[in-house]
């Protein structure tokens, strides 16, 4: 590994919430800092998210950008099979997908990571 970068879980630099809309699930993902958002814009492609959830067989993953919120909305089309009432999974409504996305590992420049951690700590401890 390059000494200038670090492999971290998304949860160190972002937070999330997920739910269902028919047979789709959506995940709101929020970077703690604008720099973190800009970085994720480059590395967290729809394909990356689709790969993380490939076992759920989404037919498509859409990524919407909300720069004023440092946020993305990922829509996982078809990830809930035939929808909340028919799905036999324990997580029929995709409630766990947000927290599960935060387990995804990304390679991040060490300086950016340190800044994200510092600002996250400051904003949560105030």
């Amino acid at each position: 590994m390059n000494g200038q970068s670090k492999r971290v879980k998304l949860r160190e630099i972002a937070f999330a919430r997920s739910g269902d809309k028919g047979s789709n699930s959506n995940i709101g993902l929020f970077a703690y800092t604008p720099e973190g958002y800009q970085y994720l814009r480059q590395v967290l492609k729809p394909e990356t998210v689709a790969r993380h959830f490939q076992a759920l067989k989404p037919t498509e993953v859409k990524r919407y950008e909300l720069p004023l919120l440092n946020a993305f909305n990922f829509v996982l089309v078809g990830a809930l099979g035939e929808g909340g009432s028919r799905s036999l999974r324990v997580d029929a409504q995709g409630k766990a997908l947000g927290i599960a996305l935060l387990e995804l590992e990304v390679e991040i420049p060490a300086t950016l990571w340190a800044k994200c951690l510092r600002e996250k700590r400051e904003s949560r401890d105030e």
Binding site: G22, N26, H52, A96, G98
Partner: protein
């Protein structure tokens, strides 16, 4: 409890609380919220998830006077002491379900008995089941997600309700209703109705309607705005006493979300952002019957402890089509869980699960669909975290579905038999055989708004 004056000036801030996010939510939330904030102008109470109406349909089949959220009648009764003491808080709710008038009559009785007669507005017209059942045009009411024709499920339809907007509920409020009981209304429209009635907004003040829709969207899930299901839940203060959310709306559509002082949780940039994107699709195109909303340029700014200002929503004319949420009978399901203990517990669990399915097959009841999970080993969101097989305990969960009720019944018996025929260390069988439940398929489709005629009936206090 002190008496509070009625803020009727449109320049005053309108205070709207939410004390019910779903049918089965905390029943005393409304009382607790009004104890803390008797100055609220409105309470919105949301009882309807996508398939709630199909449960109400079954209840109404057995008893024509049922078919609504009976919990609400009790809740209305619990608020009588506040109203008798001069509290002016009005209520907008979708508790009417499939029978808003039945709900209203029951409320009137309870409140009369509590010596608290009030005027009740009843909004009907959302029920379009007959329209779908009698439609002969096969190009209409196609499934919005799959594009399948209605023919495939028409004979099995249980409910079909159009999502109404705020206008009719606002009219009921303008006619002096203290409680407005609706059936299917878009969730944020409960809040929009309160705003329209108070501020007199027309149906083309799109940016203001958009702001109110965002406000309604934020509070409709109750404590999800104040820390519930937050990534930072473990850091919350008093998680056992999460406050229910409150909107403070101004005439120009700017608003702050907050919660009652002394309650647990937080209203912060973190909780508000998470809820803002909760269960939405394209942020530039949030569809509601009142207005099409873009939240693309919305900002979320903390204005003090537990006070967050949300602004920048843009509104555009609503679609001429209303969304219809229909449900149809789609067979039966059953699911059950057992605890499996022992080395490599997930392997034991999966094998035990396969045994149940094999036995069903032997009995001539192979299920059309089934799903086996070893909970604890990474099966909830498979692949997202590495699968762990080296566990000493996990939970086996099996779910089956079939058109035939007997298949689900067979499963229910076979699962129980694992207690004596399964692996060493099978335990946790305490809740008896799993119940067999009907499946209600979800059929979203569209209807021209012009074909839906919502109406208000005013039930006078007597």
């Amino acid at each position: 409890m002190s008496k509070v004056s009625h803020h009727s000036s449109i320049n005053s801030t309108l205070r709207i609380g939410n004390a019910q996010a779903f049918w089965g939510d905390s029943p005393d939330a409304a009382v607790r919220l009004l104890e803390a904030r008797p100055d609220l102008d409105f309470l919105t109470l949301d009882y309807l998830a996508e398939v709630s109406l199909s449960i109400m349909a079954i209840q109404k089949d057995k008893n024509p006077e049922a078919g609504y959220a009976a919990d609400f009648v009790e809740l209305a009764g619990s608020l009588a002491p506040f109203w008798r003491a001069g509290c002016h808080t009005r209520i907008v709710t979708n508790a009417g379900g499939l029978n808003p008038m039945g709900c209203a009559l029951a409320c009137r009785d309870v409140l009369q008995a509590a010596d608290c007669p009030v005027r009740i507005g009843v909004v009907t017209g959302d029920d379009v089941l007959a329209r779908l059942k009698n439609s002969t045009d096969s190009t209409r009411f196609k499934n919005l997600e799959t594009n399948q024709p209605l023919e495939e499920v028409r004979d099995r339809l249980v409910t079909a309700n159009a999502y109404l907007g705020a206008q009719t509920a606002a009219e009921a409020l303008a006619r002096g209703a203290h409680i407005v009981i609706c059936g299917r209304v878009a969730d944020p429209s409960l809040t929009v109705a309160a705003c329209r009635a108070h501020f007199g907004w027309s149906d083309t003040e799109y940016d203001r309607l958009a702001a109110a829709t965002v406000a309604g969207h934020l509070i409709e899930c109750g404590t999800q705005l104040t820390g519930g299901i937050s990534t930072h839940w473990m850091e919350l203060r008093q998680p056992e006493n999460l406050g229910f959310p409150i909107v403070e709306m101004s005439v120009d559509g700017s608003f702050v979300v907050t919660k009652a002082e002394g309650t647990g949780g937080e209203v912060s940039e973190f909780t508000v952002k998470e809820q803002l994107l909760y269960e939405i699709g394209d942020p530039a195109c949030y569809l509601s019957p009142d207005v099409t909303v873009s939240i693309q340029h919305v900002t979320v700014v903390e204005r003090g402890r537990d006070r967050v200002e949300v602004s920048g929503a843009r509104g555009f004319p609503p679609s001429p089509m209303l969304k219809v949420s229909a449900t149809y009978r789609d067979g039966f399901r059953a699911e059950g869980m057992l605890v499996i203990v022992g080395p490599e517990a997930p392997s034991r669990a999966r094998r035990a699960g396969e045994v149940v399915i094999a036995r069903m097959r032997q009995a001539g009841f192979a299920p059309e669909r089934w799903h086996i999970e070893a909970l604890g080993s990474g099966d909830v969101v498979p692949g997202a975290v590495g699968r762990q097989d080296d566990l000493f305990e996990c939970v086996l969960r099996i779910a089956v579905a079939d058109r035939r009720r007997e298949v689900a019944e067979c499963f229910s018996r076979q699962l129980a038999s694992l207690v004596t025929s399964g692996p060493a260390g099978v335990t946790g069988y305490t809740s008896g055989r799993p119940p067999v439940r009907p499946i209600f398929g979800y059929w979203p489709c569209l209807i021209p708004a012009a074909e839906v005629g919502p109406t208000v009936t005013i039930l006078e206090a007597v």
